[in-house]
């Protein structure tokens, strides 16, 4: 029998948000013990793959109001403005704190941190570490967390399978220790979920293998609603075939997008008019290639419909051209872009344009939290991509997510610490009983089961296919319903799953099977949220309801899991403070507001 493990606070997930939360707890109250449970070694977490940068107002020509306004219009007014205001206000301090922890931010000659513009920004405010910002942030956070030896205990390569809930509050998790196969009850006074997004429910994604929506599914199955799940961000520039991300920084440094005719086609999609690449005004902020991600990805589909995309061995693409930036600038500011293009597309962007197409990148939706990171289930908190506060609304601005995991990771850590100080762990017998039930379920459903005929990979690839065709950049009621029918079939077939691996030590096939269950649950919440939202807003484009409808849908969707497994959708008003809903304007008018840089 596995030993009982107890902490004041458990954090599930060791990426940027989880590590920031752990350090926040350790700094707030040295007496609290933190257990950090992660299915991979923390430095493997997907924060590592973020490239472009992290937004925070730091220069004299910028303002909190401008960052708020860019974020809110980028979100198509679905962001909560109180959350955005505090996010923007706390961002510079968090980024500076990370600088104090060693993050090698790129610098100006004066020694101050340098910033670059990103899509949808009126001013340049993105802090960056060349084009490996997430990598440097994650390693700085992980290495700093090692300072708190004794206060933060790492459970590396442990996989959480369910939440322990008793007396109306969350008091721990059940988790598999991969090395031994032992299934442990880990109890705590508060739990923070920081498990990242769920891009892997789609076929073509920038996300690593581990992004399977685990925390979202844990919360959802425990009765916590998932908010705004219909909003999925397609990043406009992924490498065809692999889905590997080519950062927006390539465009903020001056890269352009062209179709098969060599035409900068974005000019046809209400994103303003181009200026010549040699014009000192290029690239113009909030214009053309520096428009928001949702609009750029949608423009690709329209170009394809017009027959203007380029045929490649790995599907239809457009070209991202950065040749005019010069070899020196590419080597200095975009070395990872060059490395990725060379290795995975066989293209040297110094000499040739990079083939790209839209690719699933980020979930705006997630576990419903307030601005402290608290979920409706007492004792349960969430932060980072798995959570939805919401500052991202219907479309996240590039470089807000790395800042978000710092600001809200720290807030969730502080709030969980306060909660833990006021509570004790309740009836451990009840929690242990829940863990025993979970052990039996996993044994019976997977390890001792016989007669199943379905393979994980077959179900997974049908899920990919159904999501991509029915719930992609453009959706209709019919496409969503068809995908939902497929999903229902897959849920049924999942019960007939059979795994090859019956051993205890590092049974990664078992973990993959449990991840697939999480993916199916998250996909269900997404589809039903998308079906119910009969409007087009940001990244959620319904061709059968092409207009934004503020009267009916200036609201967050909340997907509750019902006993039959199907979601029930409710709505919650969006918080508006100073920015009344208006039309999103990019291009000429935006350029007028920001005359230079």
């Amino acid at each position: 029998m596995a030993e009982a493990i107890q902490h004041d606070i458990l954090i599930i997930g060791g990426g940027g948000a989880g590590l920031r939360a752990a350090i926040a707890v350790a700094e707030h109250d040295p007496d609290l013990s933190v257990g950090l449970v992660s299915k991979v070694y923390p430095m493997r977490s997907h924060t590592v793959a973020a490239e472009g940068g992290a937004a925070g107002v730091v220069k004299d020509n910028d303002s909190f109001a401008a960052h708020c306004s860019d974020t809110i219009s980028g979100a198509d007014w679905l962001a909560d403005q109180d959350a955005v205001e505090l996010f923007v206000a706390e961002a510079p301090r968090e980024l500076t704190q990370l600088e104090h922890w060693g993050c090698p931010w790129s610098r100006e000659p004066s020694g101050h941190v340098a910033v670059r513009p990103f899509g949808g920004m009126e001013r340049e405010r993105t802090w960056y570490a060349a084009d490996k910002t997430g990598f440097h942030m994650l390693h700085a956070l992980y290495q700093t967390s090692l300072k708190y030896e004794g206060r933060i205990k790492f459970y590396d390569e442990w996989f959480a399978t369910s939440l322990l809930v008793d007396d109306g509050r969350c008091q721990g998790v059940v988790a598999i220790e991969l090395r031994t196969g032992l299934i442990h009850a880990l109890t705590a006074k508060a739990v923070i979920l920081c498990t990242g997004g769920a891009g892997r429910i789609f076929a073509f994604t920038t996300n690593g293998a581990i992004k399977t929506g685990d925390g979202m599914a844990l919360a959802y199955r425990a009765g916590v609603p998932l908010k705004d799940m219909e909003f999925v961000q397609y990043h406009p520039t992924g490498l065809p075939g692999t889905g590997i991300l080519i950062t927006e920084a390539a465009r903020s440094e001056g890269g352009i997008l062209v179709n098969r005719h060599g035409d900068r086609y974005l000019k046809d999609y209400n994103l303003g008019q181009p200026v010549d690449i040699n014009d000192p005004r290029h690239p113009q902020k909030r214009t053309m290639e520096l428009g928001p991600r949702d609009k750029l990805s949608q423009a690709f589909v329209k170009e394809h419909e017009k027959g203007n995309t380029i045929d490649s061995p790995f599907g239809d693409v457009v070209h991202l051209d950065i040749r005019h930036l010069s070899a020196k600038k590419i080597r200095l500011k975009l070395p990872f872009v060059r490395e990725l293009a060379l290795n995975y597309a066989g293209i040297d962007p110094i000499r040739e344009p990079i083939p790209v197409r839209p690719v699933v990148h980020y979930m705006m939706g997630g576990i419903h939290t307030d601005i402290q990171g608290a979920t409706p289930l007492p004792g349960l908190f969430a932060a980072g991509e798995c959570a939805c506060v919401s500052i991202n609304g219907a479309n996240r601005l590039g470089s807000n997510s790395l800042t978000e995991l710092l600001v809200f990771g720290a807030r969730a850590g502080a709030a969980a610490a306060a909660f833990a100080r006021e509570h004790t762990i309740g009836a451990t017998g009840v929690l242990e009983k829940q863990a025993e039930d979970e052990r039996r379920r996993i044994r019976e459903e997977f390890l001792t089961k016989t007669g199943g005929t379905e393979r994980i990979a077959a179900l997974r690839s049908e899920l990919y296919h159904a999501m991509e065709t029915g719930a992609g950049i453009y959706r209709t009621e019919a496409s969503l319903r068809q995908t939902d029918q497929t999903l229902e079939t897959l849920q049924g077939r999942y019960r007939n799953l059979q795994i090859d691996d019956r051993s205890n030590c590092y049974n990664t096939e078992l973990i993959t099977a449990l991840e697939l269950r999480n993916m199916l649950d998250v996909a269900g919440a997404l589809l039903h949220s998308a079906l119910e939202r009969k409007e087009s807003r940001g990244s959620h484009q319904r061709t059968d309801h092409p207009q934004r409808d503020d009267a009916a849908y200036l609201k967050h969707s909340l997907a509750y899991r019902q006993d039959d497994g199907k979601p029930r959708i409710e709505y919650l008003d969006v918080v508006i403070t100073k920015w009344p809903p208006a039309e999103r304007v990019y291009g000429a008018e935006a350029a007028h507001v920001a005359p230079d840089g």
């Binding site: 090698p104 490996k132 992609g472 205890n504 096939e509």
Partner: protein, 267 residues
């Protein structure tokens, strides 16, 4: 699953790659299951040969379609998470960056990273490495820790450049599998940990070199290195740990002389 294959899309936009090829390539894979009889074996798998596939794609195909018990680590499949290091034909490589076409039509031998304890199949024990990482105090150490309210610590691009290369390490452990000293001397803290110590020692914002000197100057520290240089050869991120070690040796001598000449402490 990163490189879609045989997964045609019905939508009008094409996603998928070329169809399933007729050619195959053989992977000869090291197997060890501690739950079983404890024996190590090699198992041959014939895998569809795609020019654009990397070894990791082939392993994923085996696990998905043929043998779910094959065990290895991976995540980002873009050379930055550091999970998927293994020996590919005897050379430490990231399997997400080792292309089948560089071996075809020969069979490829796949083994776990050498000099590490094998947990199962291609998975190695990384705990020892984490202990070494911690021993060099890989965090910014200041005499006067300041709050963020006073703004950033200034650092010029030149000061950044002096340590930047050593900050690029992804902890993939290929350098340990290439280092004969690691093989002979288990306690040697190794290339990546020494490079990381230098990353902080050379950072203009850091004042912790003295606190790292003991771990670096010990027999298990820089003096263990016999300068074979293999670590820098296999590094997928051009961190040049060998260069870091040489620099650390010079610094270590300086520290030793300082201690000898100024036992009361000088700076």
């Amino acid at each position: 699953m990163s490189r879609p294959m045989g997964r045609p899309s019905q939508s009008s936009i094409r996603y998928s790659g070329p169809p399933m090829p007729a050619e195959t390539i053989t992977l000869d894979v090291f197997r060890f299951q501690p739950d079983g009889d404890g024996k190590t074996t090699f198992q041959k798998y014939d895998v569809p040969y795609h020019e654009h596939w990397v070894v990791l794609d082939a392993l994923n195909w085996i696990k998905d379609e043929v043998d779910g018990t094959l065990t290895y680590r991976w995540s980002c499949r873009m050379g930055v998470c550091g999970s998927c290091g293994m020996m590919v034909d005897g050379v430490p490589k990231l399997s997400c960056a080792a292309f089948l076409k560089d071996y075809y039509p020969r069979a490829i031998r796949i083994e776990p990273l050498t000099y590490f304890t094998v947990e199962r199949d291609l998975m190695i024990d990384q705990e020892g490495f984490l202990g070494k990482l911690k021993s060099i105090k890989p965090w910014l150490i200041r005499d006067d820790d300041q709050t963020p309210d006073g703004g950033e610590y200034l650092q010029t691009p030149d000061q950044l450049a002096s340590y930047k290369q050593y900050s690029m390490c992804i902890n993939c452990l290929l350098c340990y599998a290439a280092c004969p000293v690691v093989g002979a001397e288990e306690d040697f803290i190794g290339p990546a940990a020494i490079a990381l110590a230098q990353r902080y020692n050379l950072d203009s914002r850091d004042q912790g070199a003295a606190q790292r000197a003991d771990a670096l100057g010990a027999e298990e520290g820089v003096w263990g290195c016999t300068f074979v240089g293999e670590c820098s050869e296999v590094c997928p991120k051009n961190v040049d740990p060998a260069g870091a070690i040489q620099r650390a040796k010079v610094d270590s001598v300086k520290t030793w002389y300082k201690k000898l000449l100024m036992p009361w402490g000088g700076s």
